[in-house]
Symmetry: C2
Subunit: 118 residues, 2 copies
C-alpha cells in the first residue's frame, strides 16, 4: 500500500463491517430494542459463536453498544458509527452530484457545438 487511505471513514472498519449480510441482519434485528446474544443467534442460520464474533466486529466499528445485565449481554445500535458513515456517504453523494452536473453541461456544450457545425 503506497497510497495512504484518504480521510474517508476512519479506517473504514464500519464499511467493512457492513459488507457482511449476517452482520446487516443483526443490525436490522436491533432496530427496535436491545437484544441479548442468544436471542439474536436463535433467529439466524448460524451458530451462537459466529454471532458473538460478528458482534465483536460491529462493536469495534462503533455500530453497536454492549451493556451487561447478569450473564446476559445486551447489544443495541450505536449512533456514533452511523453518524460517521453518514458524513462520509453524504460527502461522496455531494461530489457525485456536482461532477454529474458538470458532465451534463459539458455534454450539452458538445451537442450545441455539433448542431452549430452541421
Amino acid at each position: 500500500m503506497t497510497y495512504q487511505e484518504m480521510p474517508a471513514v476512519r479506517g473504514g472498519s464500519a464499511l467493512v463491517a457492513l459488507a457482511d449480510p449476517t452482520r446487516r441482519a443483526l443490525l436490522d434485528m436491533l432496530r427496535g430494542r436491545p437484544l441479548p446474544v442468544g436471542e439474536l443467534a436463535r433467529q439466524l442460520p448460524v451458530s451462537r459463536p459466529a454471532v458473538s464474533q460478528h458482534l465483536k466486529a460491529l462493536k469495534a466499528a462503533h455500530l453497536v453498544h454492549e451493556h451487561r445485565q447478569g450473564t446476559r449481554h445486551y447489544f443495541s445500535l450505536n449512533p456514533s458509527g452511523f453518524a460517521e458513515l453518514r458524513r462520509y456517504v453524504d460527502s461522496m453523494w455531494e461530489n457525485a452530484l456536482t461532477t454529474f452536473a458538470a458532465y451534463v453541461s459539458d455534454q450539452q456544450d458538445i451537442q450545441r457545438t455539433r448542431r452549430r457545425d452541421r
Copy 2:
C-alpha cells in the same frame, strides 16, 4: 440462509463494494472529475487489470458511471448508488438514536428506583 435480507440496501452490493480500501481510493480520486482507467491505475499500487476489475464492481453497485471517448473509458461518481446508501444509513442512524434515547431513559428509571429504595 434461512433469513431473507431485509429491505436494507438492494442486495448490499454498494456496501460490499465500499468495503475494499482500493475501491474507496478510486472513488476518492473521482471526487473532482471523471478520469480514465490508466490514470487511475497510475496512482495506485496495483496493476491496471486490478483497477479494471474494481471499476466493474463499482459500476455494478451503481457507485460509478462510465462513458467512453475513443479508446478512453472515463469513470465518474454516480449519485444513484450513494443516494440509496444515504437512505439506508440515515434510517439506521435514526433507529440508533431512538433506541439510544430509550436506553438512556430506562437507565434513569433504574437510577431513580435505586435511590428510592436506598
